[in-house]
Symmetry: C2
Subunit: 344 residues, 2 copies
């Protein structure tokens, strides 16, 4: 397994062409705000003045976490597989929003602690029945971590669209994500932990202590891939691989909430230019997400107090990406519409 090389999208000549195209549209300068930023970014990613979003897809990676044995989640571990069943039955929020906004949905078993058997609509990439409990030992071996990365890359290599969103399901994975965030940013654990699916204040304190103890136990893990193997999840590791491959293929990456952004943190430590390819869908209500986004210099499109995961933020943000593409492709210019320009 080798990490894909990711090139910066920087291209000053194209950037200037895109700025001109955006500024000549019949609207006051800059008045489409973040949509203008996104349109330009997509142009730089696609390396063209004529941008298009093709076959958007959301990949939802599911896996279980050994650390739930420490009592860090408000829901029992069985909810992971039960929610995968719910995805397959099209009853979850992500099913509803993906269908509404014309987005294909891929459900991937990266390591759920349940035997689904062969199932229509489920992509079986199970590497284990969940991770080990990182309060006692590394969540996975470096070999397993590398296999997960490679599996994520292979999945994205097969996609035929040019925009991919990331989602996840895994009881306990805000604990893994908070540990990754602490290790990769240096932000104190207390500012990385949150309520997850709905912990009480006491529950959050306990989660913090579990992470702090584990961080002390695994003090030697400092390199991004070591940190990922030690504290991550199989769904997180597979997502890291998928993100790297998507950027290598110059796709638009749609980043969801706290757990997905923790995977991006790992990917960005490996290949910083990956950030050029990322559109941040939303700022989650999960406590550490805003600081995580700030650490990445990211500005999210939506602030709706979501904290559901599954890629729901990606599906909800997708119409704004279409709006960015459509205004650039379809709006008249001052010249074509014979509208007078600014008079001062």
């Amino acid at each position: 397994m080798s990490i894909p090389a990711i090139a910066s999208t920087r291209n000053d000549a194209l950037a200037s062409l895109l700025d001109n195209a955006i500024n000549n549209k019949t609207k006051p300068l800059g008045s489409l705000g973040m949509l203008e930023t996104v349109a330009k970014q997509i142009g730089l990613i696609q390396n063209t003045r004529v941008i298009a979003l093709e076959k958007p897809a959301i990949l939802v990676f599911a896996a279980d976490h050994g650390v739930v044995a420490e009592g860090v989640s408000a829901y029992p571990q069985d909810v992971t597989w039960q929610m995968v069943e719910n995805f397959l039955a099209r009853g979850a929020a992500i099913n509803v929003f993906a269908q509404q906004n014309g987005c294909a949905l891929h459900i991937i078993d990266a390591g759920v602690n349940h035997d689904f058997g062969p199932r229509t609509g489920l992509t079986d990439r199970k590497l284990a029945h969940g991770t080990h409990n990182f309060a006692q030992q590394p969540a996975m071996s470096s070999d397993t971590c590398a296999t997960a990365l490679a599996a994520g890359m292979a999945l994205v290599a097969e996609l035929d669209g040019n925009v991919v969103g990331f989602g996840e399901m895994g009881i306990g994975n805000t604990t893994a994500a908070a540990a990754l965030m602490h290790k990769l940013t240096g932000i104190p654990v207390a500012q990385c932990v949150g309520a997850g699916t709905g912990l009480s204040a006491d529950g959050i304190s306990h989660k913090q202590r579990v992470i702090e103890a584990a961080v002390a136990l695994h003090a030697s893990a400092t390199e991004p891939l070591d940190v990922l193997a030690t504290f991550g999840g199989l769904e997180i590791a597979m997502m890291v691989g998928a993100m790297l491959k998507a950027a290598e293929r110059r796709m638009v990456l749609l980043i969801d909430g706290f757990i997905v952004t923790s995977a991006l943190l790992v990917a960005a430590r490996l290949q910083p230019a990956i950030l050029d390819y990322c559109v941040f869908a939303h700022c989650s209500d999960e406590s550490g997400h805003k600081k995580m986004l700030d650490n990445l210099g990211a500005r999210p499109l939506l602030q709706l107090n979501l904290r559901l995961g599954e890629g729901t933020g990606c599906a909800l943000a997708l119409p704004l990406l279409h709006a960015a593409v459509n205004f650039l492709n379809q709006m008249a210019t001052f010249e074509s519409a014979q509208v007078s320009e600014k008079s001062e």
Copy 2:
């Protein structure tokens, strides 16, 4: 012309039913954030547990403003009619976003300073070739204002959908809206004025002085309809009537940016319960909009640094309203999906 009576949507029994329905969906409690608030609000507006958005429409009211003679806009007055032509040719931002999101668009000439003649796609409700210059005299007579309100009501009486967004076009109308905001909220003029389509700092200062002088000239105007006739625009007055009728018909009102919200300020002073029917699409970058929203206790869905008007924020927010309706109607419950509930 009489002002429609608007009933509060408050209904504790229905609210409780809606809360239960929302909380039983397969997601952590409250995790869909503002979408849950909107779903409940739509239920209360439509007075049912089974909500639906039918035939969404955006009404774009266009008119000219005599106060542009004072040099308060970065663009010449001709841009108003030129942009109306652009709307009819489907070249403007609102055309692109309305089409993308399946929203009918009605372009209404409330008082543009131009003779269009009979035109397909243009609803002719022209009451004058623009308002008078409110720096010298009231923008319109109370009769004209009443006629504009009645015209707006009549337009909405004919709509066959149940969700209506409001947009506007009118060079100079941020000046009118800032004056309305000041008079109806008491917020100092300096905090009500902004760059509009792109004034310099000097331009903004000049606009502020023009408004302050006019406010001194028309000190006797204090009642909402007097204030509207004195400082408003024909598009703003027609929108006030349209909003009142839409709420009377228990439609969902989608509120756009600074000018549209200034019309709502007038309507809400006449019938405070209208706010129960309003979903606020976005917070504009026009300087006073956030304070205006705060004054109304409003929380907007989007913060994208838009400042374009035309109803663009409404069109962009519409998919989020659909998402609110769809999750309530389509998601599985914990029981139906056999997903375990919270364990603590």
